[in-house]
Amino acid sequence: MYEKEQDRVQAYLDGKMSRRELLRSMSALGVSAAAASTLIGLGSTRAFAAGFDAMQHQGTALKLLLNKHPYTDALLANLEAFKAMSGMEVTYDIFPEDVYFDKVTAALSSRSSEYDVFMTGAYMTWTYGPAGWITDLNEWIQDGDKTNPNYNWADMLAGLRASTAWNGIPGGALGSADAKQWCIPWGYELNNLSYNRNMFDQAGVSAPTNMGELLEVCAKLSTDVEGVYPIGVRGSRSWATIHPGFLSGYSNFGERDLTVGDDGTLSAAMNTDGSKAFHRDWVKMIQEYGPKNWSTYTWYQVGTDLGAGASAMIFDADILGYFMNGGGNKETGNIAYAPFAANPAADAPTPNVWIWSLSMSNFSQKKDAAWHFMQWATGVEHGLFGAQQMDFVNPVRQAVWDDSTFRARIDETYPGYLHQHDVSAPGAQIYFTAQPLFFDLTTEWAATLQKMVANEVPVDEGLDMLAESVNNQLADAGLG
């Protein structure tokens, strides 16, 4: 095909030419920006194919089940490159996030062989794995014939590799030696502070570094900045309320959701004194400085408020603050980022993470071909493509984090983002105990928080009741 163009692309990939230079030279050759993207994809995909039979599944057709998400957009923008490299056919179904996981559960519980690969989060694999719906991917990762020697599994951030591996035993440590790799990390988010620089300047405060400071900063913001509430966190009756800022701060004090006994039984740990103290601060923070409609707040409302200038900061996914600094938002360009360790005695933040991952359906008829695709989709090359040109952020691979083009792009428009990530990444992992009742218990936890914030039940009493209920449910499921 186009030799001249390919040379330019190679030069770009080798770092000899900037993206802008490349695009300029391409347009001189009559290649549009979109076509140039595809060529870059093809070029980087060539690197993937070196020393490995990329065509081994030529002619096989795969079907993906995807969530409507920027990661998906990045995948679709580069999908032609994969098809050209592998000779495979790839089709996909995209569902909105609001209903996405229900669709996955419906498809898998009916044992449908329609989808080969699908997007998921690590928490969901705690259901899918024991239910027998997904495959342990170690079998493929370890297989030299099926896995590209350049795949470089070790390059995946260690905390994420561990967080997506579980031995299936309730309470079993994530990433243990006997763990099964239920999914491959794809893109992830950790929880820290994103804040509005103008509002912080107006109040004359800087980013707080622990819970006590946070409450002080909130107090200052609420008096000095008119018509704005200080801090946004999620509050809907769902596990999603527990896992972001809340659990990140909670874990920073060394508190746990459950404790695993010597005999392997699980018991509730939410009613310790430390936990009660943290809950009291958290409830006070919401009551005095949170959104009025807190108990209906999901990720969308938390983000929207920051982007539209209704809130001064959020303690939520870093990537949410990242999106709110992008197009179409009133506060675009005003958002900054900071690491946050709730416990003044802690050395570093301990953000709980959400990991968008790829899983292989156990009902797939084409598992080898599916793995072929998964390697490419979670490989360094596609990661670089997505991180440099699309919003495929946060990357899960060290090689991408080390990429200067990516770092330069982020540093330019997202002040403090790289810093908050670099400081937090070592402690970033899943802090929940892996067990099949995850959704039952976290949903009830969220409901209890709602009752506390509404002053329907005092914090201490609410947590004792929660612990009792959790213990009953664990016992009932033979886990307690």
Binding site: F101, D102, T105, A106, S109, W126, T127, Y128, P130, A131, G132, G235, S236, R237, S238, W239, P291, K292, N293, W294, S295, T296, Y297, Q301, D305, A308, A310, P436, L437, F439, D440, T443, A446, A447, T448, Q450, K451, V453, A454, E456, A477, G478
Partner: protein
């Protein structure tokens, strides 16, 4: 002879196709009953076994179940009752068949045409404390701290408001149909005799309208006791357990906890309640029909 046979067979021939198409649904229904008699959680497959009525027995001592029952019944009673009153009132206002009234009645169907799931999303925005026009309006008239769906004391009210907005038109259109199809003679006779209007309404209009009221209320009842879209989109059953109705609880049990046994048992309890209530309505409806035919 052939004629007599055909006359006897005809009603069956006419109603059978409808029945046959729906009967296929009975098979999954049977499967669901079977599931409800099991300890069956998709992510704890090794524990799966028949436990007969245990899922149901547990409900008796489960305070969450009783809360769900109470919320569901209260929600149904309030929505059906309020929508009936409001729908009847509007139907009376629009009773005369004028161009204007007919146009208004079509306009009023617009909320019903908005999918409840999307309508709830819009109401959530309208009641947002920062950007919501309703919150803003409320603050102008002194309700600055109105928390709408996120406070236990106003959550039910807010969701009721949305339900009333969406479904009153349904009530209205069926009752309007009934009102306009009433025979004229009794009213003309009453007018000639100078009977007071309230008397006419309670003694003539209302009794004659009752079959329509029953049909409309029955369909509202069937939908309302199974309410899901609006509540799930607005509060997911919260805050706390304030709005936890059967379908939301069963949905969470199925899709999140993958607790098939409990989910099926909850839904079957809901089915039994609906069955009993509908039976009462239909019996009443049939009785009224007998009366009407006896009188006519």
């Amino acid at each position: 002879m052939r004629d007599a046979f055909r006359r006897r067979a005809l009603p069956y021939l006419l109603s059978l196709p409808a029945l046959l198409v729906c009967i296929g649904i009975l098979i999954p229904f049977g499967t669901a009953i079977y599931y409800s008699l099991q300890r069956y959680r998709l992510n704890l497959p090794h524990l799966r076994k028949m436990n007969w009525g245990e899922n149901y027995l547990k409900f008796l001592t489960d305070s969450e179940f009783w809360n769900t029952l109470q919320v569901s019944l209260a929600y149904t009673g309030l929505t059906v009752g309020l929508e009936l009153l409001l729908g009847l009132g509007i139907a009376l206002l629009l009773q005369r068949s004028t161009r204007f009234n007919n146009f208004v009645s079509i306009l009023l169907l617009l909320p019903l045409m908005t999918a409840p799931a999307l309508a709830a999303l819009m109401w959530k925005l309208m009641t947002n404390p920062n950007f919501g026009i309703l919150s803003y309006a409320a603050s102008l008239v002194g309700f600055e701290d109105m928390k709408w769906a996120s406070d236990p004391s106003t959550a039910l009210l807010t969701v009721l408001l949305v339900d009333i907005w969406v479904y009153t038109p349904f009530m209205m259109i069926l009752l309007l149909a009934g009102l306009r199809s009433l025979p004229r003679q009794p009213f003309e006779a009453a007018a000639l005799d100078g009977v007071p209007r309230t008397f006419v309404f309670f003694r003539i209009t209302l009794p004659m309208l009752t079959p329509y009221i029953i049909t409309a209320s029955l369909f509202r009842l069937l939908d309302s006791i199974q309410q899901f879209d609006i509540i799930y989109a607005m509060t997911q059953g919260g805050p706390g357990d304030t709005l936890m109705v059967f379908q939301v609880e069963a949905y969470l049990q199925f899709f999140q906890a993958t607790n098939i046994g409990k989910s099926a048992a909850l839904l079957l309890v809901l089915w039994v309640i609906t069955f009993i209530l509908s039976n009462l309505f239909v019996k009443q409806w049939l009785r009224l029909r007998e009366q009407a035919q006896g009188a006519g």
